[in-house]
């Protein structure tokens, strides 16, 4: 009898060690697409990769911070996050009164997001990977020409305070991924490769064709308009920013 209790105790104890649950991932099948903002008009090839089904939640980030003291609100280095970092939290280990533990974590910097993913044995998705996975509707991997899907995305961008919603309540796309649209914006590993911010107009040498005006005017469909909003947002932020409507999810390469 003692042995039974002992085995059960050991088994239970082993689960306590893994309270910080890692989000389930789905495979995004390789393919080529033409991003709104790419290297050339030929499009980019995205190899197979894994992507988190949901954005990282407040609870998951809290569990992470408890173990990783350098990302506590009171300890974080200014180099890696400005004053808005975890702005709504009560303190280092308690979420704000209005925060839901199953909502997406926001008010986190790029550096924090990057380290979180690294600690899960994952990484941030690249911008091309993120955009590629975000083209999928419920039924199709590439819904760029589906006007109903595209107007739904635009409408979802117009809703206020969607960061307060819980993850996993929006539609599940072709790959089994939730919340790519209409919950929060998401960090990508190379977000700062978008050279369309104010200063880039005068300072950047070779970018002449993607300025606010030309990109939106030439946008041929609504998908481009939605994508333009995302690229413009990425072009306007810095890695130490912590924004209320900006969260992240992790990705992983598939070893060949």
């Amino acid at each position: 009898m003692i042995k039974i209790y002992l085995s059960i105790a050991v088994l239970l104890f082993s689960f306590i060690g893994t309270t910080q649950e890692s989000t389930a991932m789905k495979k995004i099948k390789r393919g080529a697409f033409v991003p709104l903002y790419g290297s050339d008009s030929l499009g980019v090839y995205v190899p197979d990769f894994m992507l988190d089904v949901y954005p990282v939640t407040n609870q998951q980030y809290l569990d992470f911070v408890k173990k990783r003291a350098k990302w506590k609100k009171s300890k974080v280095l200014r180099l890696f996050a400005n004053e808005s970092y975890l702005r709504k939290w009560e303190n280092d280990t308690i979420l704000g009164p209005e925060m839901n533990k199953n909502s997406a974590i926001t008010n986190v910097s790029w550096y924090a997001a990057k380290d979180y993913c690294a600690c899960q044995g994952k990484r941030l998705p690249s911008m091309d990977e993120w955009e590629y996975a975000a083209m999928a509707s419920e039924k199709e991997p590439n819904a760029q020409t589906d006007s109903v899907f595209n107007s739904r995305i635009i409408e979802s961008y117009e809703l206020p305070k969607t960061y307060k919603n819980k993850v996993g309540k929006k539609f599940k796309n072709y790959y089994g991924i939730y919340d790519m649209h209409g919950l929060v914006w998401e960090w990508t590993s190379d977000f700062n490769s978008v050279l369309i911010s104010g200063e880039s107009r005068q300072d950047v040498d070779t970018e002449k064709n993607i300025f606010c005006g030309s990109a939106s005017i030439n946008a041929s469909n609504l998908m481009d308009y939605a994508a333009f909003m995302r690229y413009a947002f990425r072009g306007s932020i810095k890695a130490n920013y912590n924004i209320q409507t900006l969260g992240f999810r992790c990705a992983k390469s598939i070893k060949k």
Partner: protein
Amino acid sequence: MKSIFSRITLIGVVLFIFSFLMNSCSENIQSTEQVYQCPMDCEEGKTYSDNRGCPICKMDLQLKDKYSKVLADEGKIESASIFNLTSKWETQNNETIELKDLKGEVLVMVMVYTSCQAACPRLVADMRNISKKVDSKEVRYVLVSIDPEVDTPEVLKAFAIENEMDSEEWIFLQGSIDDVREFSNVLAVKYKQISPIDFSHSNIISVFDMAGVLFHQQEGLGVDNDETVSKIVELSN
């Protein structure tokens, strides 16, 4: 029956060990136990659990925390300093360094790539013009490559020689793709590979004080560098 339970125990133990492996990012929580050490460190690192006095120099022992804090303060890095970065870089002279190895110098930094035909030669010229005007030995001019796959230490060395930037104050750095991306974010430099050989990038020269904190940024090509020069002179004196 017996074997089933021992099997469950075994699975539990394996899971338990595994859970520790999974938590490799956890940081050790420091023990709250008080540890005393001689302030002169007469016994080279020996510690005591109470303040009994140093048996060698007879001085009162100090709490080790306090003692190590004094040491840490000397090497303290400011919260906004780039010396907090732990990335490793190869120089044009094949040395591996961390940014904090550059502590104590005023740093003037720019991101370029050596095969660049358009903006970089002008940016490099801007750097050289600044260095001529400043003319101080306490300034280091650091060029970080955004194309680390091509810009090996050998390529960087050749570039340095060709551009008469081979003296001590010029440092060329090659890092991993990931670390270069991180560093570009520290400098608020944007860049994107637009073809196999070309990058688009912002033209920003950044000045850091001796503690590694950003002090000034000059944006654009061939702009009037008087302000940047005066900021560097201000820091290096």
